[in-house]
Amino acid sequence: MMERKERKPYWRHTKWQMLASVVPFLVLIIVLPLYASSLNTARFLGFPLGYFLSAHGIAIIAIFTVASFVNRQDVIDHWHGAHEDN
């Protein structure tokens, strides 16, 4: 079980992790499609780049964001003794 004095540092650490995961992702998904038209002049794997980044790119970034969040939050849980395996 987590020690009482660890609660605040744990939650502060968790809040920063939440912001680090969500904010860049939200900025990206809002901004990227707005520039798709100008990016479409370039190509990647045959796709117009703006379309590719808005469809495939955001899907890959979403998967990467959740995967990195899961791993990093698990490390935070273990660091502060907040994990489930006690």
Binding site: A36, G46, P48
Partner: protein
């Protein structure tokens, strides 16, 4: 070796069970394909493809009965991350997401991405901001969580009443889409097919509740995924020599862009908040595939994306499911799987629409062919396509496709055996069942836990609780069926309204309930009430053309109204009690016993002592 709590409850034979299911489904498709070549009547093949999988889903549901409340309402909390993720991805948008989005991609191309990006972002936000904490709390329904978090029965009952609206909208959308595919397969009326689907839902889940739902919906999601992927993968091999349609249609798309330009398909610039989503009927291609913001303006694109994001992140038909994993870590992982499956499905839908545009473009490029190709005549005969016979020379916009038939048109256009078209239709039925059953279960559990027993924190006795649960499932399913028949609206529109209302009502309150300790019961009441009222009024005003904002974008005012109501009411009233603060602190920590399970255990002990 250390056995962790993450793994000890999971059934190690799940893979074998679902392997058998996939083998049976594949066997059925192959058998029907052989029968088709042998000249068996089309009617028999269609009914076989409709009823065969339905029997399999019912068999899965009936084979996992529940004898304990924890099994009936939370599947025993032992559903692994992969299966949970698969179910979440399929239930998020259901058949409407697959079918209507494929058609929308076909008709307006890039602009349909606002719904896909919103869905993906919804899972990310749910994973980071909501799901792990609700898993730690462990309540069976969202209103139960809110009621206990704020120690307020009015919050619990108000939340139960308000979320019934989006759940019924989702149920109607999915039953409508499922009945459309089932009616096309069977040749029977839509009403009869709604009844068939409702009865199939009841038969599947009434025995085991959430346990039956979890495993049968895993089967349905696998069937829907296969029915979507397999025909497209075959078409991809035919067209690009590689069975990965999501990644290999790039050169085809580039060629399509050149051809669209040479055909004079316009590059349109929609006003900032225009939201011209295609409806159910026949329509010609409106704009070039990769050109952004031709039907949906940039402002509306962002708002629609955020509406879907908040709707999925706070969806009361998905959140109870994340509490059924063996632990908090598994819950986080399940959202990763959900993102993978959802992304894969949506990218496949986009590739279907590109292939379909390309097939039509090939015909158009020939100028004025003396006779339309056989597949086009077949599409016209099936009622999937309309063709302007007077057009000379042929242009791309001479062809009109019904939005919801684009997915079914691809196997016909590629000349695949008819069984593949039937399989795609059966996949639509499966996807509709996943989402419709998710909505039914969520609403039935809310009725059982938060309406009938809403004035008491102590649950009903075990047997009565499960009996009421079963009756609620049947009642909600029948109500949903009646609602579908009485309000036959475009399923995609119903789904978007559902997201707008859910996001406005629940998202601010749920997020603040975890991330802002100062929030109290008054804030929750105000947040729920303001968000819901503003969203519903905006939808009604938009549909009545009183304001110039499309109903699907009502989140732009509903969401801030909900957040503002929650914050202002919390600040204007006394702060939360010590026990409420302690509860928030507890749900923020993954370790330790599930809060709800501990409460139930202590309540049982107290009752035993009293007896």
């Amino acid at each position: 070796m250390i056995t962790t709590s993450r793994a000890r409850f999971v059934n190690p034979r799940l893979g074998a069970y679902f392997g058998i299911f996939v083998s049976l489904l594949t066997g059925l498709v192959l058998l029907l394909m052989i029968f088709e070549q042998l000249g068996t009547s089309e009617v028999l093949l269609r009914w076989g493809m409709l009823l065969g999988p339905l029997v399999l889903y019912c068999a899965i549901g009936v084979s996992v009965p529940s004898r304990e409340a924890l099994e009936f309402f939370a599947s025993g909390r032992r559903v692994p991350a992969g299966y949970t993720g698969l179910g979440l991805a399929s239930a998020a948008m259901g058949a409407t997401g697959i079918v209507a989005l494929t058609g929308t991609f076909f008709l307006i191309g890039f602009d349909a991405l606002c719904l896909v990006i919103g869905g993906l972002a919804g899972f990310v936000v749910m994973a980071v901001m909501l799901a792990p904490f609700l898993r730690k709390f462990g309540a069976f329904t969202v209103p139960s969580y809110l009621g206990r978090r704020f120690e307020s029965k009015p919050v619990r009952i108000l939340a139960a009443a308000l979320i019934a609206v989006p759940l019924l909208l989702l149920l109607a959308a999915e039953l409508g889409m499922g009945a459309f595919a089932a009616a096309w397969l069977s040749g029977q009326s839509r009403g009869a097919m709604v009844l068939l689907l409702v009865l199939a839902m009841i038969a599947t889940v009434v025995v085991g509740g959430m346990r039956s739902f979890n495993w049968s919906s895993s089967g349905q999601a696998i069937a829907a995924l296969l029915a979507l992927m397999v025909p497209v993968a075959i078409v991809a091999v035919m067209v690009t020599n590689f069975p990965l349609p999501q990644l290999t249609h790039g050169p085809l798309l580039r060629q399509l862009v050149y051809n669209e330009a040479s055909q004079g398909i316009p590059v349109v610039a929609a006003p900032r908040f225009d939201f011209m989503l295609p409806g159910e009927g026949f329509a010609a291609v409106a704009k070039r595939f990769t050109a952004p913001f031709g039907s949906i303006g940039p402002g509306a694109f962002v708002v629609a994306m955020l509406t879907v994001l908040t709707g999925i992140a706070a969806s009361p038909w998905l959140l109870p499911r994340v509490t059924m994993t063996p632990g908090v870590y598994e819950t986080r992982k399940s959202l990763g799987w959900a993102t993978v499956f959802f992304g894969l499905t949506m990218l496949t839908a986009a590739s279907v629409s590109v292939f379909m545009r390309d097939f039509i473009m090939d015909v158009v490029k020939e100028g004025s062919p003396a006779r339309l190709p056989d597949w086009m005549q077949e599409l016209v005969r099936l009622g999937f396509m309309q063709f302007d016979a007077t057009a000379s020379p042929l242009v791309f916009t001479s062809f009109k496709l019904a939005r919801d038939t684009v997915l079914l048109s691809l196997p016909v256009a590629a000349g695949l055996p008819n069984v593949f078209v039937y399989f795609a239709a059966a996949g639509i039925v499966a996807a509709a069942l996943v989402a419709a059953t998710a909505a039914t279960m969520a609403l039935a559990n809310v009725v059982t836990e938060d309406v009938i027993n809403g004035l008491s924190w102590e649950p009903m006795p075990k047997d009565a609780r499960m009996l009421v649960g079963r009756i609620s499932i049947a009642g909600v399913a029948l109500l949903g069926g009646a609602f579908t028949l009485l309000a036959p609206t475009d399923p995609l529109r119903l789904l978007l309204w559902c997201f707008a209302i859910t996001g406005s009502t629940l998202f601010p309150v749920l997020v603040l309930s975890i991330w802002w300790k100062r929030m109290n019961g008054f804030g929750a009441l105000a947040g729920l009430g303001c968000g819901f009222t503003v969203a519903v009024l905006t939808i009604l005003a938009g549909e009545a053309h009183i304001i110039g904002l499309d109903g699907a974008l009502s989140g732009i005012v509903g969401l801030p109204a909900g957040a503002l109501g929650a914050v202002l009411a919390s600040l204007a009233t006394p702060g939360p009690t010590r026990s409420m603060l302690e509860l928030v602190r507890e749900i923020r920590i993954p370790g330790g016993e599930v809060v709800y399970d501990r409460e139930m255990r202590l309540m049982r002990l107290k009752n035993r002592e009293r007896a």
